[in-house]
C-alpha cells in the first residue's frame, strides 16, 4: 500500500542524505568523522531569507573554508585564544597567529590555551600547539614576532585579518598596513585589494567589535576620538601636591627611582620584576604617610606601574565570538556583515549598541587627502610637533618630520634615533620661516602609529 511504502522510502532518503552530507562535509585528510561540520553546513548548503545577496548555497563552501581560506589572528592573549578556538570550530584550518609576548601567570584566568607550566614561553607557539592538538586537521602557524616585523608581502596572503590587540598604536599600525595594500586604478579602488579587518577590544566588563573594509568603510583613524588619549597626572601634582595613592606611586616611579637607582646605575624599572614593585610599594607608602594619604596597597602599586587593565574570561569570550561570527559571514558570504560597530557592556544587565561608524572625510589615514596644517610662518616647529601629538584625531607618539627643501629631503626633527634627535633638536625652537618652509609645502611625517608616511600640507596663516 502507498502508506506503508512511504515510511520506508523516507527512511532510505534519510540514510542517503546523511551519507551524502558526510561525503560532502568531510575531507579525505586525517581527522574527519561523521557529522563533524553539521552545525556549520546548514549555513553553507541551505538557501535562506536573510542571506547575503551574493550567497549561493553549495557543498563547496565548506571546502573553501577548510582548504583555501587563510585567516590571520593578531594577538594570542585574551581575545586571541578565544578567536583561535572560535575559528577552528567554524571550519577554518589555515590560520596564522602573531604575538610578541610570553605567557605570564596573570594571563591564566582567561587565556585558556596556557597552563602554569607554559609561563615564560611565547604565547603564539603555545596557543598554536594547543589548538592544533585539540582540533584535528587545524593548522595554526605561530609567529613569535611584532606585527611591525612583517611587510606587505606577508599580510597580502590573507583573506581576512582579525585583531585581538591591547594597544591602540598597534591597531593603527595594522590599519595603516591594510590601507597601504589598496590598489587604485584611475582613482577607482580595486575590490580584490581589500582585506577585511575585524577588530575587537575589551576592558573589564566592556568591549567592542567592529568590521572594517579598508578604503570603503570607516577605518580605525576615522573614529580615533572614540579612544580618548590616556590621562596622565600633572607633574606638579606628582612632585609636590599628591592627593591620591596613585600620585604617590607615580612619584616613586617617575622621580624617585631615577634619583635613587635602587638596583644599580642604568637599571630601569622592570614592571614585571616583583622585587622592583616591592621597592616602589614601600617607597610609595612612605610618600603617602608624609601627606596622610591612605590606600596604597601592593595591588594598587602594581596596577599603576604596569597600567593594568582589569580583565575576565567572559567579556573576551563575548567579543571574540562576535568577531569570529563576522569572519565566518564574510568568508562564506552567508550573511551581510555587521555594519559596522558593536559596543558591549554587562555591568548592569547586558547592554549592546550597534551603529554604523562613519568615514571621516579628511581622515589622516584613509582619505588620501593630504591633511592641512595651519600655522603662522613665525610659529616654531615645536608647535607643529605638539599639534601632531596632542590633536585628538592624530594622537601621534613620536613623529618624525621631513620636508623637501631645495630639491633635497631634509629631516626637520626625529626623536627615535638619539644622534639625529640631538642634531635636529635646535630646529624645534626655530620658526617655520627660518627653516625655509614655504606656504603650500608638503611635510612628510612618520610615526609608530602608521606603517606609511603621512603627507601634510603646510598652509600659512597671517
Amino acid at each position: 500500500m502507498a502508506d506503508t511504502d512511504e515510511p520506508e522510502k523516507k527512511r532510505r532518503r534519510v540514510v542517503e542524505l546523511t551519507e551524502k552530507m558526510v561525503v560532502d562535509g568531510g575531507s579525505r585528510d586525517g581527522g574527519e568523522w561523521d557529522g563533524r561540520w553539521n552545525h556549520i553546513n546548514t549555513f553553507l548548503e541551505r538557501p535562506g531569507p536573510f542571506t547575503h545577496p551574493d550567497f549561493e548555497p553549495s557543498t563547496e563552501s565548506l571546502q573553501f573554508l577548510l582548504d583555501t581560506c587563510k585567516i590571520l589572528v593578531i594577538g594570542a592573549g585574551g581575545l586571541g585564544c578565544e578567536l583561535l578556538k572560535d575559528l577552528a570550530l567554524s571550519g577554518f584550518r589555515h590560520i596564522h597567529v602573531v604575538d610578541m609576548d610570553t605567557i605570564d601567570v596573570s594571563n591564566l584566568n582567561r587565556q585558556f590555551l596556557f597552563r602554569l607550566k607554559d609561563v615564560g614561553r611565547p604565547k603564539a607557539d603555545i596557543a598554536a600547539d594547543f589548538i592544533n592538538g585539540r582540533i584535528p586537521g587545524c593548522n595554526v602557524v605561530p609567529h613569535f614576532k611584532k606585527i611591525q616585523d612583517f611587510d606587505e608581502s606577508f599580510y597580502r596572503q590573507f583573506h581576512i585579518i582579525v585583531c585581538g590587540l591591547d594597544s591602540i598604536i598597534a591597531r593603527r599600525w595594522m590599519n595603516g598596513m591594510l590601507l597601504s595594500l589598496l590598489v587604485y586604478e584611475d582613482g577607482v579602488l580595486d575590490p580584490s585589494s581589500i582585506i577585511p579587518l575585524i577588530d575587537g577590544g575589551t576592558e573589564g566588563f566592556k568591549g567592542n567589535a567592529r568590521v572594517i573594509f579598508p578604503g570603503m568603510t570607516a577605518c580605525i583613524d576615522c573614529t580615533l576620538e572614540l579612544y580618548p588619549p590616556q590621562i596622565n597626572f600633572p607633574m606638579c601634582t606628582i612632585a609636590s601636591m599628591p592627593r591620591l595613592p596613585e600620585h604617590c606611586v607615580e612619584y616613586v616611579r617617575m622621580l624617585l627611582w631615577p634619583k635613587e637607582k635602587p638596583f644599580g646605575d642604568g637599571v630601569g624599572l622592570d614592571a614585571d620584576d616583583p622585587e622592583h614593585i616591592q621597592w616602589v610599594y614601600q617607597k610609595s607608602q612612605e610618600r603617602a604617610a608624609e601627606f596622610s594619604i591612605t590606600g596604597v596597597t601592593y595591588r594598587l602599586t602594581q596596577g599603576v606601574v604596569k597600567r593594568i587593565i582589569p580583565a575576565v574570561a567572559s567579556t573576551n569570550a563575548v567579543i571574540a565570538a562576535a568577531c569570529a561570527t563576522e569572519v565566518f559571514k564574510i568568508a562564506s558570504s552567508a550573511y551581510i556583515p555587521l555594519n559596522n560597530y558593536m559596543v558591549f557592556n554587562d555591568v548592569d544587565g547586558l547592554y549592546t549598541y550597534t551603529f554604523e561608524a562613519e568615514r571621516k572625510e579628511n581622515c589622516s589615514s584613509c582619505s588620501q587627502v593630504p591633511q592641512d596644517l595651519h600655522f603662522s610662518p613665525s610659529a616654531k616647529l615645536q608647535e607643529v610637533l605638539d599639534y601632531l601629538t596632542e590633536n585628538a584625531s592624530l594622537q601621534m607618539k613620536s613623529p618624525a618630520i621631513t620636508a623637501t627643501l631645495e630639491g633635497k629631503n631634509k629631516t626637520l626633527y626625529l626623536q627615535t634615533v638619539t644622534s639625529i634627535e640631538q642634531r635636529t633638536r635646535p630646529n624645534l625652537s626655530k620658526s617655520l620661516k627660518e627653516l625655509g618652509l614655504l606656504d603650500g609645502q608638503e611635510l612628510a611625517v612618520a610615526d609608530v602609529t602608521t606603517p606609511q608616511t603621512l603627507l601634510f600640507k603646510l598652509s600659512f596663516t597671517s
Binding site: N38, H39, I40, F205, P310, A313, A317, A321, T325, G349
Partner: protein, 511 residues
Amino acid sequence: SKRTMAVTKASKDQKYDRQLRLWGDHGQEELENAHVCLINSTASGTEILKNLVLPGIGAFTIVDGHKVSGQDVGNNFFLSNNSIGRNRAQAATELLQELNTDVSGNFVEEVCVFNYEHTCLRLGSVLWNANIPFLVCRTYGLVGYMRLVVKEHTVIESHPDNALEDLRLDQPFAELKNHIQSYDLEGMGKKNHSHTPWIIIVAKYLEKWFSEHNFQFPKNYKEKEAFKQLIRQGILKSEKGTPEDEENFEEAIKNVNTALNPTKISSGVDDIFNGEQCNDITSQTPAFWVMTRAVREFVHNDGGGNLPVRGSIPDMIADSEKFITLQNIYREKAMQDASVVSKHVESLLQSVGKVCETLFCKNAAFLRVVRCRSLVEEYSVETVNKDAITSCMDSADGEMVLYLMLRSVDRFYQQHSRYPGVYNYQVEEDISKLKLCVNSLLQEYSLNVNVKDDYIHEFCRYGASEPHTVASFLGGSAAQEAIKIITRQFVPFNNTFIYNAMSQTTATFQL
C-alpha cells in the same frame, strides 16, 4: 599548613589578579565557595562552564545522559573525537577540569529530555521553591537566548557607571559647615587661593549667592550661569587686571551643575525601603534587609531624610593638606553615620558584622533588588506578559520575533518529537508545519501580532544547529550573569535576553 596556605593564596592572587580588580577578594571568596550545576554539556553549556572554571568557581557538576556524537565534537572545544560514544558529561568534565586545578568538577549520567517547555517548567518549579537561581540558556542557529529565574536577588555593590557624588553642598552637615567657615578666600595669599578645593569654592560662593538671593539656590539655567559668573569674578587678577591661571576655579565652574544637584534618595532606593521584607525583621531575615531597615531608621531619625554620608570625594586641584583635610571631613562623617546605622542594626537584632555595615552605607544610594517572574508566570495564559510581547512586535524585525520563534520550535518538538529542518529534505516541508505551531502559539495567548514568514523559513533553515561562535557569545554572557548572582556584585539582567548574531544586536525583555 599555614605556610602552604599563604603560598597558595599568593599564587592565586597572581593568577586571578586581573579579575580581583573587578570584584575584590570578597567577591572571589564567594566564587570559590560556589557550586554550579550544568545540565547538558552542549557547546553552549561547556562554554558557560569554561568561563566559570577559569575564574575559579569552587565546584561544578555536569548532568548529561547523552553519548558523545560526531556532531557534538564538531562544535564543542571540550569534547574530542576519541570520546565519541562515551558519556558526554564525563568527557566534558575531564577537559573542563583540566583548565583549572583549583576547581572540582564531577558529573552525573542522567538524561534530561529537553522538551524545553515541559522540562524547564518542572525543573523551574523545584528550583523556585528551593530558592536556587536558575539560568536557562540555549543557542538555536544564529540566535542566543537566556532566561534568569530568581525570586529575589539583592545587590549591595552594584558598581554603577557614572555615579553622582555625595557632596551635601545643599545641606552641609555641621562638620562640613565649620570647615568651610575656616576658609577666608579673600584674605588668602595667591598660592593658597589657587590650591583651594573647588568644593570649598562652590560652598563659599553659594553663601554669597544666598545673601543676595533670599536664601534660594540657583534654580534655572540663567541663574546657574550667573552663579558661574559670580565664581569667575573671584579669580585673582594680576597687576594689569588680567585674570590669573586658577585651575581650581575653572574646576569649580565646570562642576557647578552637578554640585547643585539636590541631595535626595533615588526612587529605586525608596522602593527598596518600602519593600515588604523591610518591615518584618525576624531572626530569619537576610542580612540585606536587616541593613536596609537599619538605614531606613537612620534616614528617618538621624539623617534628616538623607542616607548616611558616602564619604568619598572626587580628586580635584588642591594642595595635599587642603585636599586630605577635606576628604577626612567626609570620611569621618561617613564613619559616624555608619556607626549610628550599626546601633539601629543592634536594636533590630544581632549585629551583622562591622565590615558589612560600612560597605552597605557606602553603597546605600546604589542598592538594587532584582525580582524575576517565574517560568509559570511567563508561560501561563492568565499571566503571560501580553503587553510586552505585543508592543515589542511593533518592530517586526526586532528580537521579540526571535523569542516567539523559539517558543514555536518547542511546540514543533512537542508535536513531532524533533526540531524543524534537521535534515536538508525537511526544510521546505517543515515550514508550513512550523507556521501552524506559530499560529497556535499566538492564538493560545491571544497575541494579535504578525510573525513574518521569513522568520519561519529561517528557523527551519537553522535545523536546530548550534554554531560554536554563537554558543561562545552566549557562554560569555551567561557565565558573567552567574558570577553576578554568586558574588552579589553588579546587576543581573531581568529576565529574558536575546542575541541576534545576524545583526549583532541584543535585547532584554521582562516576560
